[in-house]
């Protein structure tokens, strides 16, 4: 052979594939559209599930702290919401400055909010009561669901738990004398009463600095409530990071809150995965069925290629390459449609735009390709079982 335009194996196969694709992509429009739909949904689910997790994280933050930092070996008897944890020894304390610096010193803990607290026994107008000092801003961030009336206190004001307020007749605007056990006393204004739904309803809430002043322990705290971002992070891992950052501290996970978050997020992920799998299966059946019908119509072509001496692997390669191209086309279309759908879903469900993570496009494309190839395997193998003798026989 002396021709000037010899085409090597890959070259002619590419030409054959291009010609074949031009026809099969239009013939297999239904299959490609199904793949595009699946890919769009995978894209949308991945993008929106990221948004759902972020949103859930924000919403779950409303349930308060998920880590408690105590002086090491302190007996844990302290109340937090509906959790009865009991009193903490008053003479073991942590440095407030170490606790406030946690976000910077324990980056692996994912600390979002720290509320150092000082527990104290006080008398209010001569009546003994439990008191706890907090920085108002941190307390408010950790407990957005508390019912505070008429408003959150500011500066040197105090706030009475609802049970305590009923017992002592404390109302907003009333000025009371608060005295520490060691004799120091101040007159303060009750700015609000609060319903926490827990044991804190028996406490008087003071600004942290005032509590430290009354107790005579400036710059110290009995404990700290910590809100950490536990997404993708084990609660225990965050606790260990905090212990490493605060000398003499022991961090404990508030397991009910932490496990509720983990469980809810896991359920959301599982639900989304099941929806994706169900949809993927439906698409695989659709694509497989459509391809089966199309290949049935191409039996003579396949039989002819086999009769001419094409190895089954060559014909299989051509047909699977066609399926891949269909998957790629469907995947790309699906990415565009999925991005638009994710925006629409996010706007209607969350009222905000969902940022598309880097994982969504490759996952959507990969899903379309895997579906296309997976769905093509059986029809292609069945088509290759044709006998050229049967398909090429004269009618």
């Amino acid at each position: 052979m002396t021709g000037k335009r010899r085409t090597n194996g890959t070259g002619f196969f590419g030409r054959w594939l291009r010609r074949s694709l031009r026809r099969s992509l239009s013939a297999n429009a239904v299959g490609t559209a199904s793949l595009a739909l699946s890919s769009a949904l995978v894209f949308c689910l991945v993008a929106v599930s990221g948004g759902v997790e972020a949103r859930l994280g924000q919403d779950l933050a409303a349930y308060g702290a998920n880590l408690l930092v105590l002086p090491r070996s302190a007996p844990l008897r302290f109340g937090l919401g509906t959790l009865e944890l009991g009193p903490v020894e008053e003479d073991r304390r942590l440095a407030e400055s170490d606790l406030r610096a946690l976000a910077g010193t324990a980056p692996r803990a994912g600390v979002v909010t720290v509320a150092p607290a000082l527990l104290a026994r006080v008398s209010i107008d001569g009546v003994a009561a439990g008191a706890v000092g907090y920085p108002w801003d941190a307390l408010r961030q950790l407990n957005p669901l508390w019912r505070v009336a008429p408003r959150w206190p500011e500066g040197g004001e105090v706030m009475a738990g609802s049970s305590l307020a009923r017992r002592l007749g404390l109302v907003a605007g009333k000025v009371v004398e608060v005295a520490a056990t060691r004799g120091r006393a101040v007159r303060v204004t009750v700015a609000a009463t609060v319903e926490t739904g827990g044991t804190e309803d028996e406490d008087l809430f003071l600004p942290l600095a005032l509590a430290q002043d009354l107790a005579g322990v400036p710059g110290q705290a009995s404990l700290a409530l910590v809100r950490a971002d536990l997404r993708g992070r084990a609660p225990e891992e965050a606790a260990r990071a905090i212990e490493a950052a605060v000398p003499g501290a022991e961090a404990r996970t508030l397991s009910q809150v932490a496990s509720a978050e983990a469980s809810l997020l896991a359920k959301v992920r599982r639900l989304l995965l099941l929806v994706t799998l169900a949809l993927g299966s439906a698409t695989a059946f659709t694509v497989s069925g459509t391809l089966g019908v199309l290949l049935l119509a191409r039996r003579q072509e396949i039989g002819l290629c086999l009769a001419l001496g094409a190895a089954p692997g060559t014909v299989r390669g051509l047909l699977l390459a066609e399926a891949s191209a269909s998957g790629l086309a469907g995947g790309l279309a699906g990415c565009v449609a999925g991005a638009l759908a994710a925006e629409a879903v996010a706007a209607s469900v969350f009222g905000a735009l969902v940022p598309v993570g880097w994982a969504a496009p490759p996952l959507a494309l990969g899903a379309a390709l895997a579906l296309a190839l997976g769905a093509a395997l059986w029809p292609v193998e069945r088509a290759l079982r044709v006998s050229p003798c049967d398909t090429l026989r004269a009618p």
């Binding site: 052979m1 335009r5 004269a394």
Partner: protein, 237 residues
């Protein structure tokens, strides 16, 4: 190119309880043109498929040149088909989305390398130099069959198998195809085995083997000097 010599020894093909071919014995000379005739179901196509290694005998042997087809595995049979046999079918089957040129190049590529110039030459030899870029749907039946002949012969096989090659053509086109085949065989010397219902087409061969119920019923050798082109108009089909 030299034609393939074929030896058929007690070749039998069974499909379940049905015997499509019954212990057929024959020897076909290299470079000859053998017509297989007989009614539908007589075993013509079955024998053709066995000769082309598209099927295997249930018993007996078929030896083409020095190759025992009954001993070939699937991969070796595929190699045999692409390297040593050319096929032409009644329905002038072509890959519908490839041009005439690309259909010929496909056979080249399956054999070894696709060569556009050589494929164009093959089409020119069958009178289709001006139709190389046309799709099968843009060619007439006769043109499609000539393109199939070009494809079958482009790799210079020693054996050309024809299954009712003129069955779907009008007589004018059929005559062109037969004359073309005769000319190409004279030039290249390949062996032709042609299954046909048509007695006029059968007489283009130099030997007519008649099959009936899967067995050889008659074996007639024709005079080499017979006037092929003046053969009477064949009956349809």
């Amino acid at each position: 190119m030299t034609g393939e010599h074929i030896r058929i020894e007690r070749a039998t093909r069974r499909y379940g309880d049905t015997e499509a071919l019954r212990a057929v014995d024959a020897e076909l000379e290299a470079g000859g043109w053998v017509s297989l005739v007989g009614p539908s179901g007589s075993g013509k196509s079955t024998l053709l498929h066995l000769l082309g290694a598209m099927d295997r005998p249930s018993a007996g042997r078929i030896v083409v040149g020095d190759t025992d087809l009954s001993a070939l595995d699937a991969a070796a049979a595929t190699r045999f088909r692409r390297e040593r046999v050319g096929f032409v079918f009644q329905q002038h089957h072509m890959v519908p989305y490839l041009s005439a040129l690309e259909n010929v190049m496909l056979a080249q590529w399956l054999h070894s390398l696709a060569d556009a110039a050589e494929a164009e030459g093959a089409l020119a030899r069958v009178g289709l130099a001006h139709r190389t870029s046309h799709l099968p749907s843009q060619l007439s039946g006769g043109e499609r069959q000539r393109a199939c002949i070009a494809r079958a012969l482009v790799n210079e096989p020693g054996l050309l198998l024809l299954d009712e090659p003129t069955g779907a053509l009008d007589w004018g086109s059929a005559l062109q195809v037969l004359e073309l085949l005769a000319r190409l065989q004279r030039e290249s010397g390949f062996t032709i085995v042609c299954a046909t219902h048509n007695p006029v087409v059968a007489r283009w061969g130099d030997r007519i083997v008649t099959l009936r119920d899967g067995s050889v019923a008659a074996d007639e050798r024709l005079a080499p000097e017979r006037p092929r082109a003046e053969a009477p108009r064949p009956e349809a089909g």
